[in-house]
Symmetry: D2
Subunit: 260 residues, 4 copies
């Protein structure tokens, strides 16, 4: 079954094509790479036209229609587009990522294959103290000495646990599925991850947010670059009506009205 690459009668997406097989590096050993795609901005419009009929057929209205759909939570036409990525990331990032259940996943299995000696070692710039205001986030700077200490400790532990892993697999020949249990969540894993555009927007909305952990945000940003090129019209609408929109609660709306 050789992969044939040639002409196609399918809709082509030039913005996506340029990213095929061009991995975007993420963190120290990771990446996001677009492997395949389905659809383009026109495919969203095409699906919407089935639902909303012949009355909206002028080409000039395409952008308006996409914006209308996104603004009014008519999300099904965005589900008609798919992106398939090959990604490599630390296990603790994969654990946050996999919580989004509406994607298809094939992950590297440490039961079948050996794990490589690759662990995430943070850049000193991103090491921060526990935030005192935000229970889940990062706050003040560490001293350079403290940063060195953090990296020294992590590096030593990674070396130690990987040495254990090699001993368990080597002399002892322990089953792979057991030998890997001492490896830390900083070890890298990889997967194929396929998702439709509507659900990818949902993922990006949550993972591009400033409250998302920095390490997963890096991957979200890599995918956002690809989506922006592949679906420029949909991306613009997503930015305007979701990413940079602000929701006011019932109470805030009442206050706003009083002020006018």
């Amino acid at each position: 079954m050789p992969e044939e690459k040639e002409g196609t009668a399918r809709p082509v997406n030039p913005g996506a094509e340029q990213w095929l097989e061009k991995p975007i590096p993420c963190l120290d050993h990771g990446f996001v790479r677009l492997v395949d795609y389905m659809g383009n901005d026109a495919a969203i419009v095409q699906a919407a036209r089935v639902s909303y009929g012949a009355g909206t057929k002028k080409v000039s209205e395409d952008r308006g229609l996409v914006r209308y759909l996104l603004r009014n939570v008519h999300t099904t036409p965005f589900e008609m587009c798919e992106l398939k990525f090959h990604c490599k990331m630390p296990i603790f990032v994969a654990r946050q990522w996999i919580r989004h259940r509406t994607a298809n996943v094939n992950e590297y299995s440490a039961r079948y294959s050996e794990v490589k000696d690759e662990f995430y070692l943070p850049d000193p710039d991103v090491l921060k103290k526990q935030s005192s205001e935000n229970r889940q986030g990062r706050g003040e700077e560490l001293t350079d000495e403290q940063k060195r200490r953090v990296l020294y400790l992590l590096r030593a532990d990674y070396a130690q646990e990987y040495s254990t892993y090699e001993q368990l697999l080597g002399e002892i020949e322990l089953a792979r599925e057991l030998a890997r249990i001492g490896l830390s969540v900083a070890a890298y894993t990889q997967w194929y991850w396929k998702i439709d555009l509507h659900n990818l927007f949902h993922f990006l909305r949550l993972r591009l947010d400033s409250h998302a952990q920095y390490e997963i945000r890096v991957f979200a940003e890599a995918m956002a670059r690809i989506v922006k090129d592949a679906f420029p019209v949909a991306w613009e609408a997503f930015e305007d009506y979701r990413l940079k929109a602000v929701s006011f609660s019932r109470l805030e709306i009442e206050v706003l009205k009083t002020r006018q």
Copy 2:
């Protein structure tokens, strides 16, 4: 946003390409038409190799790997392929079809657009009596006179209800969303329907079955023709391990053992 059709660096699927834009007629006014696709047999193998590692890399083993996956219910690699169809079918068929929740759908809306004068009139050959054994199915033959009577009654009702629809929309200018409530479930609707290969196999397994209503089976058979060409290796495995496989219960297995 004109649709560009040209070269692509994506994996191409020649078996699928030949079906693009070539609708397969179904029943008297319906069809199934492949609009777009993602992946091929090699994409299934590629995804599986991420999970199961480098040890299985010989090309000669591709077919064996696909069969192994399907036999052992490793279904995620099949989710890496997608098919997008444009289909037109009677409403009562659409109502059975939509019960499969793992697909993406954009359906023609009778709130936005007018419904055409197209109703399903069964071929006389498929008109049968209620089965006395099978509460959900068809049984003995009708007489020719009875068949004529059935078609006469249905045709008259279709004409009557469509005439009402036209009056409600015409002189009275009733809202479309109300005018359509007298139309029967034999009226045709249409949709874009996108599904991954694993879930399509599940759909086909249920809807190609002899207990499925004939009218939806026609659509399942049309899609099966396309899948067979597009994913020949996966289709063969699906036939051998699902469609034409037979499951024996615990009791039957015990009886079988005694016989030997």
Copy 3:
């Protein structure tokens, strides 16, 4: 397997209990009836505390925590509650309803059982002209004469198609799955419908909206009454941060800032 009803060590929800087996009539023949439930406001808090740890344990903070979760799109704790309804509605309402794929459904089957002579005949008050501004909605009033005409035409068609149905099932003994194809989408169907609270909120947000068709809104409102009693804290948060919240786009936010 008799249904036993007695004491339980499960969390009880008094607000839900009062609705059990008390159907809320909807339209002329329909209803919404709560059949079973899982969880209460405290169950949402309990699930959230697993995620967010021991730091938030004061009882006084429960309401605040629920509101924080909903405001910040931490939706998983709301998925820990379930509601199971028995509903009866016209087929065209069921067709809109079923588009929400994240519920569990068991629908009455016209292949197995006979359909009753029950069709939705709108109240004269809700009959309106097609809106000229809103392609999907209702606009100006009809005259009394026009309303009478609409109801006369629908009633006549219902009688005619049901008479056909009886003939096909009676003398001709046509298979049930075929005999029903001439019945209109105004015919009533029914189902068991089970959904978690997060997805029910999503459903209600879309179907309580003024753009939703009146006939499905009636059912959404019936369920909203039940939810309001069963999950008063979550409902209040849902109203404040979703239902009565207003989202401003990037552009509108920029304009708002300029005004200050």
Copy 4:
């Protein structure tokens, strides 16, 4: 919002009640605990009767109906029952578990809360060599000396990495979301996990299998004990038609026919 426990008009499930708040220990620090449930065997029958109509109403047929449903892949009535568990397991087990996407999950977050000093140390009896035939499994016995060595190495690494964790959180006050990245996948996590009976059966079928890793099988077996008591009729059908059934491929069926 105090949890009220008292009488209920809901269907009660005595087999499930006895397991409420009675955790089943799993591995060295883990457990499975039933927190709440919805439905019983009668609820499956009740939902099926909506679909298949009044013709099947004799109480004596309940067991037969449940078996018919399961045998013929009519899975929706089983979705009408829910089980909610509180579980504690090593991270590598949680990573296999979460691949089942059709459940609701609230997991303990190491970004919000500190991780305890609890790591999975296998019982010596379950330490085995890598299987030579089965790329994913365990094979021959280790010597006692080798077993001691494995446990010594793991124990030392766990102590080392937890000491690092304490230093990073303590003196250095590193953000929790970073301090935890050196902890191994043997560390325990916990979650609330809610799933319907149909999808739980699917989970159990895969995770009770002899090819599933021993450590997740332990949790599957704990849940199986609860399901067996809570849904005795459905469990029996599940065992007979799924768990202990055998599927023969098209080829095998042909061979079987020849032999007779």
